[in-house]
Symmetry: C2
Subunit: 337 residues, 2 copies
Amino acid sequence: MVSLKDIASQCNVSVATVSKALNDHSDIGAETKARIRRTAREMGYVPNAAAKSMKTNRTHNLGVLFMDDANSGLQHDFFASVLESFKKEVEREGYDITFISNDRNTPGRTSYLNHARYRRFDGIIIANVHFDDPEVVELVKSDIPVVTIDHIYNDTTTILSDNVDGINKLVDFVVENGHKKIAYIHGADSSVTRTRIITFNKRLEEHGITVPDEYMRESPYRDTHGAYETTLELLDLPERPTCIFYPDDYAAYGGMRAVMEKGLKVPDDVSVVGFDGIKVARHIRPRLTTYRQDADELGLQAAKNLIDLIERPKTTLVKQVVVKGRLLEGDTLKKLN
Amino acid sequence: MVSLKDIASQCNVSVATVSKALNDHSDIGAETKARIRRTAREMGYVPNAAAKSMKTNRTHNLGVLFMDDANSGLQHDFFASVLESFKKEVEREGYDITFISNDRNTPGRTSYLNHARYRRFDGIIIANVHFDDPEVVELVKSDIPVVTIDHIYNDTTTILSDNVDGINKLVDFVVENGHKKIAYIHGADSSVTRTRIITFNKRLEEHGITVPDEYMRESPYRDTHGAYETTLELLDLPERPTCIFYPDDYAAYGGMRAVMEKGLKVPDDVSVVGFDGIKVARHIRPRLTTYRQDADELGLQAAKNLIDLIERPKTTLVKQVVVKGRLLEGDTLKKLN
DNA sequence: AGGTTTCACTAAAACGATTAACGAAACTTT
DNA sequence: AAAGTTTCGTTAATCGTTTTAGTGAAACCT
């Protein structure tokens, strides 16, 4: 590989001059600069990121921690979209992204934090992990700039979907369509789940509807089989709900399968409401009624905020950015009466 | 950050000794070694990947080029699975992965190759790109070890699905179910597409079935709308096909929508056959009849072969690894007669 | 006692860049 | 014309490692 030294000797100048010429410092003469740059191009010079980072203490490389223990990280349509959008934005700013390895049982692995230190990431984005994992907490508490998606820590910038808005919109829509017996299969406990449950109950109460305990069930996020089982339980209740909320779209498909296998129809017998707005759902009939989170905006905000934290630490505040989504009216909700 | 130098002065030994102790060289005494290692741990030492790579000429970082111009890279369920599997395997071997940025119109961007050189990737995996893009070709022709997924170059190791097996299995299955009027909406031209088309025609011929020209249509991969439109054309033919093959599962869903909007039923009026076996399809009814590519195995093979090329260049052959998938019998194929 | 091995460690160069400090012309001032 | 300013480069230190060659002391042999 051709280095500054090669260019220097080719041009009969010092290495320093070459460095300055290529970085457009003002103390190199115009034609010297031009000559050096031309030679660099002709020789096929490419800077060495490692060498550069040693001097500048900046790698222009961001760490991505993006995986739960179900390992559905990249295959999670919604988070893949967020990451895609994040990636696009940071690349525009000259950053690359590298995954923080997450396989907990590889021999010789180190903690997330040590991995991040080893690669000297300038910043880190965290999403879709166990946020109470001590290793994750350690990472968040470190001096490396961090942005989290969809989970609130103190002292950390967070980008999150407007879950309150989402649940409110869905509840309103369902109630407007005449539903009164509404069940909610919610995801496993987390700050997001709690927000959704509270909002769900509160909004229904405002509509004068109380939700019986047996209508509130827990089933993991993105677990179609769990949702399937839980839906069967709901359908066997003496007072069958007319509408079921799901923790996410995948779960909703599991639920719809249960409804169909019971010999019932969606939405004629049971209405179904998802959450997320996964892309593939737009191509499948019946179209799922759901709340589409704005993955692009989430990724964009994560990128912008992280880069601000890195490049302008003095003037950047830690904050929570809430991103609104929108109601997607599909064909899985029946208008009653 | 604590460096070798800090440990050295703490232990009253030279930097060289510390380096050797941590790397377990044989010429450091046992108790010195132990003392140094303990101190390193206590001081929270983490090696600096950049410094290390400068001396060793190895970054233990692999480049990933994984994006077509539709930017459906990460959101492509199938390729996300491949990448996930690839990632897991290389991490086991101590490698990280970094994306080669693909946004062609960011100011100051360099070619894929230059990006790869800048980061000094030890190797590169390429999938789902325009393989005839000059920049991709340049990358493949470079001296950096490369493995491609699903595209054959000379002199490059390729991991590919057994498209011949896939099409044969699907054709056999469809014919066994009594279909004779079989249309094929195939993807845009590529080595994979060509293989599939040739196999499709050949196998049907062996079954004594000739496919009229108007049954062969082209529509881009993963384009639900294109598939929708093309399906409408097929349904309007005087001799409507009884079964339609699609380039992939997404396209198949687009096609199914067209069938339904025509007031026809899948599979009663028109049977539908996909390709890929995307995960979400297992949760949606009707279940798509398709050929499930073994994404995990593809990723695993890509990882193993790439690492072999990097670590054992002398003894590793460039080769083509073919990975079989399996027929997924769903509910979208009707048994005729 | 002198010579040879072995052991445990150090010195120093090198990887490829950046940058503060310095210096020699050349050009302005007064 | 002496002094001050620009202008354009160079020198040398440095980032954190690895590695080759070398060193001195102890241990072994004869």
